[in-house]
């Protein structure tokens, strides 16, 4: 049952991915600018013979639907074209900037889930008490304070006033990055066994990750609280208490499990807005990630790079939603049948 559930979710994710590729292909085909000449230097682009040769070489003289399959083939081989701005293959740009963003987004998400769900549980157990009131303010603040404002305050308090955390970059000036395995400096430095480098990577990561996690914390706190309160009124919770189970077992095994489905639902949406937030956070913290790359590509109308980023983000998003779906299936056996 679980196997069939996973298979069906994988299938629909694949269909979605093809759809997104189709859209990005149509975008590339429709937008002004010749894909052939953009691959050539200025001199060569003036020579019709060379242009024709390139067109034939890349299949650009074929009908559009054939081009789509060529495009699909290129994608599968990892050929996303060449960035006009950096003059490097888009894929290698993504491989360079992607892990930095992934590291930021993953840590921010983990922080947000632990803090948001944890505080949500606390708020629900103290419903309408003083702690709950205070947490309501926290949640409201996280959701409604603009992220750039939060970032500026955080930098001012923790870097300018008190030099607790560095305010920009991924490592101290002069430090060389660990040899690339995942591209995430925290992981790679650990893999290399270099603890000083790890400490530096972490201290650079904390501030931007916290700022990035704030809206998600607010959202998860609110959802966890209300979902917990709803489940607390269920008879199966009373039944668990009537069995004489310790309080923490009742709360974590029975109530939280019952409350988690709506929380997971909002997790996918919250992650999407977190991705949008990375663009701002990376700018403010000088974090060399996909957000910063996308920002500069867009301001230079660097089409291959923009399409590459779009595909990258779309694939990340599909993957996250796939994970969310799997979490549903693991947590709620009734969903596996669907």
């Amino acid at each position: 049952m679980l196997f069939r559930f996973i298979l069906s979710r994988l299938g629909s994710a694949a269909i979605l991915a093809v759809g997104i590729i189709l859209v990005s292909f149509v975008l590339t085909a429709l937008l002004p600018g010749d894909a052939a000449t953009s691959r050539l230097g200025e001199r060569a682009a003036g020579n019709p013979e060379i242009v024709a040769a390139v067109r034939a070489r890349y299949g650009l003289d074929q009908p559009l639907y054939v081009q789509f399959f060529i495009y699909l083939g290129n994608l599968l081989r990892g050929d996303l074209g060449t960035s006009i701005r950096t003059q490097k293959p888009v894929l290698s740009d993504l491989a360079q900037f992607g892990p930095a963003s992934a590291e930021l987004a993953i840590v921010a998400t983990i922080v947000a889930v632990i803090v948001g769900v944890g505080l949500g549980i606390v708020a629900s157990l103290r419903a309408n008490g003083l702690v709950d009131q205070a947490l309501r303010v926290v949640s409201l603040g996280g959701v409604s304070i603009p992220i750039f404002w939060l970032a500026l305050i955080a930098v001012y308090v923790f870097s300018t006033l008190n030099r607790v955390f560095p305010s920009s970059g991924r490592l101290n000036p002069g430090q060389t990055p660990p040899s690339q395995v995942t591209g995430m400096y925290t992981l790679d430095s650990l893999l290399a066994g270099d603890l000083t480098l790890f400490a530096s990577a972490i201290s650079h990561l904390i501030l931007p990750a916290l700022v990035l996690s704030a809206p998600m914390i607010g959202l998860l706190l609110r959802f966890t609280r209300s979902s917990m309160l709803e489940v607390l009124g269920n008879e199966y919770v009373r039944a668990a208490e009537a069995k004489g189970l310790p309080r923490h077992t009742v709360i974590l095994r029975h109530v939280l499990r019952g409350a988690l489905v709506p929380v997971i639902t909002v997790l996918g949406t919250a992650f999407a807005s977190l991705l949008a937030g990375t663009v701002l956070v990376e700018q403010i913290f000088g974090w060399p990630g996909i957000g910063a790359y996308a920002f500069r590509s867009a301001s230079n109308l660097d089409l291959p790079a923009i399409v590459g980023v779009t595909l990258f983000v779309a694939i990340v998003y599909i993957t996250v939603n796939l994970i969310v779906d799997f979490l549903y299936g693991i947590i709620d056996p009734r969903i596996r049948r669907a």
Binding site: N234, E235, Y236, R238, A239, A240, E241, A242, K243, G244, L245, P246, R247, T249, R253, H254, R257, G258, I331, D332, P333, R334
Partner: protein, 340 residues
């Protein structure tokens, strides 16, 4: 000393509403004691105190003792030790009382492991035995399944197995057949009766259905408006009824009352904590009511050995009951000398 002693229990909510007033009841080891009364009469609230549960924000006076230990003054840890091990509970609706996202094995074993310190393997083996005990088909594969796989009747069997896991001395069964089909009800009642005989545990059996009660209970308490109306042995209360409310409940039973047939409501509305009439709470619906019934709360009085009722008028007290009348009517013409 009785197994359960509820002594002069009153439960008040903030804002002055009274859920239960001066209720006393006892349950002896191995006995099935019924609590009857319309919805809202305080059956569940009373029974839950024997597990140390009070409604949120409520305060209680009086005592509730299990084996002499007062449940109302216990600390949370002490309560946890009693719940699920000495006293267990089966709830009304098996669709909502089992956790939909935990498998049956986990739900059957978690308290076993806490109370008896069993290892996972031993606990799961015990769980399979319990499912056999309640006659659930294919107990071993049931352990890894989730509640949605089972029908209401099967779920209620699972809930009963859960309650029996630690071998409780007292089982609280709160309307456990109300949510089930009639045919399924009979199976559950048979099961309860067999388990009681095999394990010797006492049962507090709550239902508003006197026909079911008549089959199941040894002794019966009838509650109305949060107060005790009448109690005694099942034959005292149902065959020599002394309280007009009990009488009304019996008269409202459908003719030839089959198991589980719906109760035809007594005219007027049942008293609730929000709207409880003055004096005897039953007076607006009582055909025997006199002026004093509106003013004074009638005291619960012992009318014959172990048979108590709270009615100031006691309209059936002067008369021989129906059964006796019938005996007299049948006996007299045949042989007048025997009757005297």
């Amino acid at each position: 000393m009785s197994l359960l002693e509820v002594d002069n229990l009153s439960i008040h909510l903030r804002g002055g509403r009274t859920l239960v007033e001066s209720v006393s009841l006892t349950v002896n080891a191995g006995e099935i004691v019924g609590i009857a009364g319309e919805s809202g009469s305080g059956k569940t609230v009373t029974a839950m105190t024997s597990l140390g549960f009070l409604p949120a924000g409520a305060t209680a006076t009086g005592e509730v003792r299990i084996d002499g230990a007062d449940m109302l003054s216990m600390r949370p840890k002490q309560l946890q030790a009693v719940r699920g091990s000495d006293v267990a509970m089966v709830f009304q609706d098996p669709m909502t009382s089992l956790h939909p996202m935990l498998n049956i094995g986990t739900q059957l074993t978690e308290h076993l492991r806490v109370h008896q310190g069993l290892k996972r393997k031993q606990a799961w083996a015990r769980a399979a035995e319990l499912l056999e005990l309640v006659r659930l088909p294919d107990p071993h594969s049931a352990l890894s399944a989730f509640p949605h796989r089972f029908s209401g009747g099967m779920r209620q069997r699972i809930a009963i197995a859960m309650a029996l896991a630690c071998g409780p001395k007292l089982l609280i069964a709160d309307e456990i057949t109300t949510a089930l089909d009639v045919t399924v009800q009979a199976g559950i009642l048979d099961l309860l009766d067999r388990l009681r005989r095999e394990t010797g545990m006492a049962v507090v059996f709550i239902t508003h259905d006197l026909a079911v009660m008549n089959v199941v209970a040894d002794r019966l308490y009838v509650m109305y408006g949060g107060r005790m109306a009448e109690n005694g042995s099942i034959s005292q209360v149902l065959n020599s009824t002394r309280h007009p409310y009990t009488r009304a409940l019996i008269d409202a039973l459908p003719e030839g009352a089959a198991l589980g047939k719906a109760l035809v409501p007594i005219p007027g509305e049942a008293a609730t904590p929000d709207r409880r009439p003055s004096g005897c709470a039953f007076h607006p619906r009582c055909v025997f009511a006199v002026d004093s019934c509106r003013a004074d709360v009638p005291r619960l009085r012992e009318l014959e050995d172990g048979h108590l009722a709270a009615c100031a008028v006691d309209p059936f007290g002067a008369l021989p009951d129906r059964a006796q009348l019938l005996d007299i009517a049948l006996a007299t013409p045949k042989d007048p000398r025997v009757a005297s």
